[in-house]
Amino acid sequence: MQRYFLSRLVQSVLILLGVLTLVFFMVRVSGDPASLMMPKEASQESIEAFREKMGFNRPLPVQYLDFISHAIWGDFGNSLHFKTPALSLVLQRLPATVQLAGAGLLLAILVAIPLGLIGGSTPGSLWDSAGRLLGLLGQSIPNFWLALVLIFLFAVRLRLLPSFGRDELKSLILPAFVMGLPVMGSLVRLTRSAVLEIRGEDYIRTAHSKGLDPRRVYYRHILLNAAIPLISVIGVQFGYMLGGSIYIETIFSWPGMGQLIEQAIGWRDYTLIQAIAFFTSLVVVSLNLLTDLAYAWVDPRIRLGS
């Protein structure tokens, strides 16, 4: 377990170094980072001055080492738009995104897991069909479109819910639902297939044949085993939601990291974009690490194995 933990930790650190490298080269692939970051109508002299100021005229390896040695301490330089440290701007937006993704995930779990459990236990039933339909819709509905449709229905027509902002708890309902739906879809599918698979295992037949109370078989043997794959998927999905909130936050004017990146692209504020890209990756990679550890801890085959 300790060795597993260490190797996963080292792996995550390497991935984050890779992310930093990617983020460094990302703004340089077009050839000239200075003209990428300056307004389109900027004069040649001002671009030149900016290049000098940012140190883009130094040799690439020097720039790279300079970037990495600052970035590992969280220093991505000042945002070009706000003129304040980029990372703290990102951190200010973090709570809103976590709240949105958390609410979406909670909603998804509350709906999907019961539906998947029922569907898997009674394949072909009405509940099962409902679950499978939900799984398919969650996979196929574009979230930016769903957001517009729900705004039209609930904000414009029915005037029940606010269409933008983060002023009251009611504002959370629509964006959280839109965010949660695809996750709901994949969780239903996964829960259902996990239960179906486990129900066919030999140990379930054994448990039934030795006359065990069916409820006990259900809770001890089916539920516990189905929970293991769910843990890893929930962790990964949460990371996916944090990184995929751009459309939803833009449409609902939700003041989180997704909205910030959309704004930063408009401002050509690439230092801020670098900070957001790295920080989001850091959160996603850490979540994956935690998920893997939780998975290893729950699954005795990994916990007790070498």
């Binding site: 390497l14 990302m26 479109w145 692209i265 990756s281």
Partner: protein, 309 residues
């Protein structure tokens, strides 16, 4: 007992049906007919392909034709609607139906070529990684894992913002960023196939490396790759529409589903149909490809097929 019976049955079937191409097609058709959701998926996919291929014949108007006096005409089932514009018009009086029909071209082009590039790149990388093993494999696997660990959407949006709006850029961005998924699938399959008895026999009778790759590994890769291609194509159509929605895909003058949605967003309160129908088009295409992918996964994986019987 059970094993022997199923073996006898499947080899009997194989003699009957796998002799001719026509027989194989007939067999596939019977499999498809049995699974109605696969049939629906294939129909929706063909609908998309036909719409894109014959757009000029199907579209009632020129998708770029502006007719300001008819702007924001509602769809035909509205009291103010007219058959001239079955799905209404947008803020510039352009026919929505024609724009949706032409928009299928952008989606399908991005999806098709994006997936083709990604699958090609991924296949080569995965083959090298899985077949050579050792240090090469370790380095490639490390890079692939790094790329798959990233928040994909965020990076695609940022990269698209750097390269600027053009169809070619969008195709290349998706083609390259999606390659790791194919590389991982290929590598996994290669490792599995290499262990198979028939590959071992081929090696033992002195078959050369290329012969093993072309005769044994590639044919076995086609099934899993086609399945992944279907799902990824659906994902790319989604992502392209998303990029268009943020103004980062094809230029605004090009009728694409995402551009239409994004344009309609400004008129959501007065003319909701401008963004509603393009969204439905995205959803139907994606639904079709997901259903088709589910079916292909079941059919092309012989292990699953046997279980299903």
């Amino acid at each position: 007992m059970e094993h022997a019976a199923s073996k006898g049955q499947s080899s009997g079937l194989a003699v009957d049906i796998e002799r001719t191409w026509l027989g194989r097609l007939g067999y596939l058709w019977r499999l498809l007919w049995r699974d109605k959701s696969g049939l629906l998926g294939l129909s929706l996919f063909l609908l998309l392909v036909i719409t894109a291929a014959f757009s000029p014949l199907l579209a009632p108007h020129d998708p770029l034709d502006q007719n300001l006096s008819d702007s924001k005409t509602p769809p035909v089932w509205d009291v103010e609607g007219t058959w001239k514009y079955p799905l209404g018009t947008d803020n510039l009086g352009r026919d929505q139906l024609s724009r949706i029909i032409y928009g299928s071209r952008v989606s399908l082009t991005v999806g098709f070529f994006g997936v083709l590039i990604a699958a090609g790149l991924g296949l080569v990388i995965g083959l090298i990684s899985g077949y050579t093993g050792g240090r090469t494999d370790a380095v490639i696997t490390g890079i692939v894992n790094l790329l798959l660990a990233l928040p994909y959407l965020l990076f695609v949006v940022v990269i698209a913002s750097i390269f600027g709006r053009s169809l070619l850029n969008v195709i290349l961005i998706f083609g390259i960023t999606d390659a790791p998924i194919f590389a991982r699938t290929t590598r996994g399959e290669v490792l599995r196939i290499r262990e198979a008895g028939y590959v071992e026999s081929a090696i033992s009778i002195g078959a050369r490396r290329w012969r093993i790759i072309f005769d044994h590994i590639l044919p076995n890769l086609i099934g899993p790759l086609i399945t992944v291609m279907t799902f990824e194509m659906s994902a790319m159509i989604f992502y392209e529409a998303g990029l268009s929605f943020l103004g980062l895909s094809v230029p605004p003058s090009v009728p694409s589903w995402g551009n239409m949605l994004s344009n309609g967003r400004k008129y959501l309160t007065v003319a909701p149909w401008i963004s509603t129908y393009p969204g439905l088009a995205i959803m139907i295409s994606s639904l079709g490809m997901n259903l088709l992918g589910d079916w292909l996964r079941d059919v092309l994986d012989p292990r699953l097929r046997r279980v299903k019987k």
